[in-house]
Symmetry: C2
Subunit: 324 residues, 2 copies
């Protein structure tokens, strides 16, 4: 079974009334700095503050009525949790979210706001998976993986449909890579619409499992991620790795300094809030690592959720952990 | 001579290719909190990060070729300085910006970036005015006042043209008041298009000269402003006061706490950066001072320029000066 452009277009028709059509923004100052035309797809301005609203909404919409009434379950401390809770509330069905006991209060609050039931677990992957499995068995709820799920991948791919509708004549698309759900959908959509557009994944050097996996030809898990980009610490899944192998032209890895420079430039110049993970794709350009003069580059800003009391440039505890 | 809708429409035709058509954003969460439909006109995403780009561009465009070649001059340490420098560069003419010697480096840098000539002066209004007058006499440059100028007022009013094109059926418009340039243009435009829409000015309690002036029937200068909203510390001008008397339905004053709550909510929920002055109009609603259930309220977010290293909620030096 392979993800197709038709799946992604169907997902878009299914979810478009339940998500924001996010703007594509550009900046004369950042264009000048890059010597290229940059088109930022602002998924930080998406519902729940991240593109994850797309995939979760599509997955929930695809459940049969019988499945739906038993609800959905996932384990996540991040944007997928809020996205699934919101999607379930829109359909009026239960959502069970397994969260590690050390999750930040802000993340917990955003899930509870959408009326989800939160089940706490130990902060290990084994405990998260076991707890989610137990909940699914007890309730009959359908497990919705944050990325290794074709319904989710198709939903995330709708980002590229909108980007190419607004700016058809791109030469390149830069997309962050964590578990690979977004870049799977995006690369299928872009390459199906115009195979000449280059699709590059961008990931932190401190969580470069996609680059390693592509080089090795098999999934190399991300065992000890070391990056401020907390949304990109996951390992690839089997389904996402397959799509990345098929459709992605290459992976660029960026330093923590590049991530912070990118985040800061977007805040200062574009006046929009991106989280560190959300700024990673622009990190490939900000200090000139990629030099693509005259090209027309789509850049996906993936999310804007972070603790405004602990910004990386005002917190010595954060900056100390940054490797350059 | 009175500002008319025709002036503002002509200004829009004149400047529209040189400014951003800024988005009107809305948020389900902020609507729910207010019990009303809120439409945020995002001038923080405007060129140079503030609506001031509109008025300066219009004023420069209206110069004759003979006037233009001698350049333009103003005194400002804020957004008008950058806006005028940019407008002059677009027309290829000199800009002379008189700035107090204590202006922040960031403001200086943004003016220099557009190729303006910066003339330093003592940090007093008298010195600013004298220095600007000297420069005008020496160079023949045309003085462009930041707000008490009908060309500037007409340009700022184009904000309302766009807002009402996007959301014609508003019931109220909330607009910050500093020197009154924006609300002059906005109120003329709104009342001319639909006199049933209520136009309310919003200003800090610590710089409430518009409320005082309207009550007294004459301009009461803002002699000792005490507010974090640095863009709203000016006094009204004669031209702006006249328009405000004619067209504005009332002035709401907001506390420093309301300003900070508004700013923080916009950052957190809408994921966009507004400066304190830029958040003031939403300050009238954020803590329930205005309770307008079911209404459709346009809110002008005026700018997004501030020092990201000194945010009010991370800097004890700032929060200490806040009065509640």
């Amino acid at each position: 079974m392979t993800l197709t452009l038709a799946d992604i277009r169907a997902a878009h028709t299914r979810i478009r009334d339940r998500i924001h059509r996010t703007p594509v923004m550009s900046s004369a100052a950042l264009n000048e700095k890059a010597g290229a035309q940059l088109f930022f797809k602002c998924e930080n301005l998406q519902k729940i503050g991240a593109f994850k609203a797309r995939g979760a909404t599509n997955a929930v919409a695809l459940l049969s009525d019988e499945q739906a009434q038993r609800g959905v379950v996932t384990h996540s401390s991040g944007n997928h949790a809020a996205a699934l809770a919101r999607a379930a509330r829109l359909r009026g069905i239960p959502a069970y979210i397994v969260m590690p006991s050390n999750s930040p209060q802000a993340k917990l609050a955003s899930v509870l706001r959408y009326g989800a039931e939160v089940i706490q677990c130990e902060p290990t992957l084994a405990s998260r998976e076991k707890t989610a499995k137990d909940v699914a068995e007890r309730t009959g709820a359908t497990f919705i993986h944050p990325y290794n799920d074709e319904r989710v991948m198709a939903g995330q791919g709708t980002t590229a449909i909108e980007l190419l509708e607004d700016v058809p004549d791109l030469t390149d698309v830069l997309c962050p890579v964590g578990g690979g759900g977004l870049i799977s959908g995006v690369s299928v959509a872009v390459k199906s619409i115009n195979p000449e557009i280059r699709v590059l994944g961008v990931e932190p050097k401190g969580a470069d499992d996609a680059a390693q996996s592509l080089a090795a030809g098999r999934i190399i898990p991300c065992t000890s991620p070391n990056t401020i980009a907390d949304g990109l610490r996951s390992s690839l899944g089997e389904l996402t790795f397959e799509q990345i192998q098929l459709h992605v032209d290459g992976i660029v890895t960026v330093s923590e300094t590049e991530i912070l420079h990118a985040m800061r430039a977007i805040w200062e110049v574009m006046k929009i809030i991106v989280e560190p993970s959300g700024a990673v794709a622009y990190g490939a350009l900000v200090d000139g690592q990629l030099d693509l003069p005259g090209r027309r580059i789509g850049i996906i800003l993936t999310g804007g959720n972070l603790d405004l009391d602990k910004l990386p440039w005002t917190q010595s505890t954060h900056t100390q952990s940054i490797q350059t």
